[in-house]
Amino acid sequence: MSFLTNWADWMPTLLKGLLLSIEITAASLAIGLPLGLLLAVATSSPVKAVRWLCIALVEVGRGAPALVVLQLFYFGLPSTGLTVSSFVSAFCALGLTTAAFTSEILRAGLQAVPAGETEACAALGVTRMDTLRFVVAPQGLRIALPALMGFAVLIFQATSLCFTIAVPELLSQAYSIGSSTFQYLSVLSLAGLLYAAITVPASWLVARADRRMSRHLAHAT
């Protein structure tokens, strides 16, 4: 059982990496969610130019792999004279990816709010902004919550891509231990288990939230 003593030795380093992965996830969500809400609202803007610009942004943001967006910031931007650190690249790239994906989730949530409520607000003379803030958003966000949680799990997994731009997160730590000890299988498996230790319980939570939110539907059918 010598691999267990190895695992114990590696654990502090890997946990430090895991903590960083979680921090990147949190930062990406903190940047991406407000931006996603903004995009969700703007893609149904009455101004044509705004609408099309936002739709294009969302489509390219969702169409491009997160890996490409990451490397675009880290390797691509310097050619324009703007050099960003690997951390800033990671936050910006994953934040933008989050914004593009969550804008679609949020849009679906906002649209699920019955149109009658928006119409009632208009009839009562409530401003568009207030309708969104007090009537549509609180209900729409609730509907979107399970899907947003599911996306958070995905973006946590995507932090492993930051390995390619030299952010010392979990996978980078595991890989550097592997390259110094040559015990790739052992250390990478441990890293995989650490990822799973977060994502598997998290996905159970998502499934639970999903069931709770659709409880009222189960009786109807």
Partner: protein, 212 residues
């Protein structure tokens, strides 16, 4: 123009890895979903565990485990097979979940009618429930295929010479670094458009056969 060429050189391998991994996943997903739906806990629990593990660990970690970690005797996986096996196994887990959703959407009456008519379990699956479940699953399968197309970019990290590999190479060798990445991003978006259209056409033609 030069940047565009640099990116396009990678397209064939991107498509190969995506298609092979999807094919592997589509086939292996079937026994997995049978296991997931099994009444025997001895079959169901290991399958559930496997699916959760495959989906819970990031793709890049799987590829690294297979590429750097696995050596059978003196045999090591080359980059392309490692990428296909890794992404294929992950696809199997995701597709099994999609199939499961499709199967549970088939009306219970279909099972009951088949049972009442004395159709045996295997035929129910392959002739009655399976085709209906597959039709329901097609839109989800297509969106998974599109996300797999993007995930195939991860294969560049173990040296598969696909789009991102050439993109990074071109960006590092000077030239307009930003332009080539933007071209790569647009290439992925453009590649996914025909997939979306094809899935819609397939779905419509399969629907026409049953809806009156």
């Amino acid at each position: 123009m030069e940047a565009l060429n640099a990116v396009l050189v990678g397209v064939p391998l991107t498509l190969l890895v995506t298609a092979a991994a999807f094919a592997m996943g589509a086939v292996l997903g079937v026994p997995l979903v049978v296991g997931l739906r099994s009444e025997r806990a001895l079959a169901r629990i290991p399958c559930r565990f496997l699916v959760d593990l495959l989906r819970g660990v990031p793709a890049i970690v799987w590829l690294f485990v297979i590429y750097f970690g696995v050596s059978i005797g003196a045999y090591r996986f080359a980059a392309v097979p490692a990428a296909i096996i890794g992404l294929g196994a992950i696809s199997a887990a995701y597709l099994a979940e999609i199939y499961r959703g499709g199967i549970s959407s088939v009306h219970a009456g279909q099972w009951e009618a088949a049972q009442a008519l004395g159709v045996d379990g295997r035929t129910v699956f392959s002739r009655i429930v399976g085709p209906q479940a597959l039709r329901v699953s097609i839109p989800s399968m297509a969106s998974y295929l599109i996300s797999l197309l993007k995930d195939s970019s991860i294969a560049s990290t173990i040296g598969v010479t696909e789009i991102v590999f050439y993109t990074t190479q071109d960006a590092r060798s000077g030239g307009g670094g930003l332009t080539v990445y933007i071209i790569a991003a647009i290439t992925y978006t453009v590649l996914s458009i025909p997939l979306g259209l094809a899935s819609r056409a397939l779905y419509d033609s399969l629907r026409k056969k049953v809806s009156r």
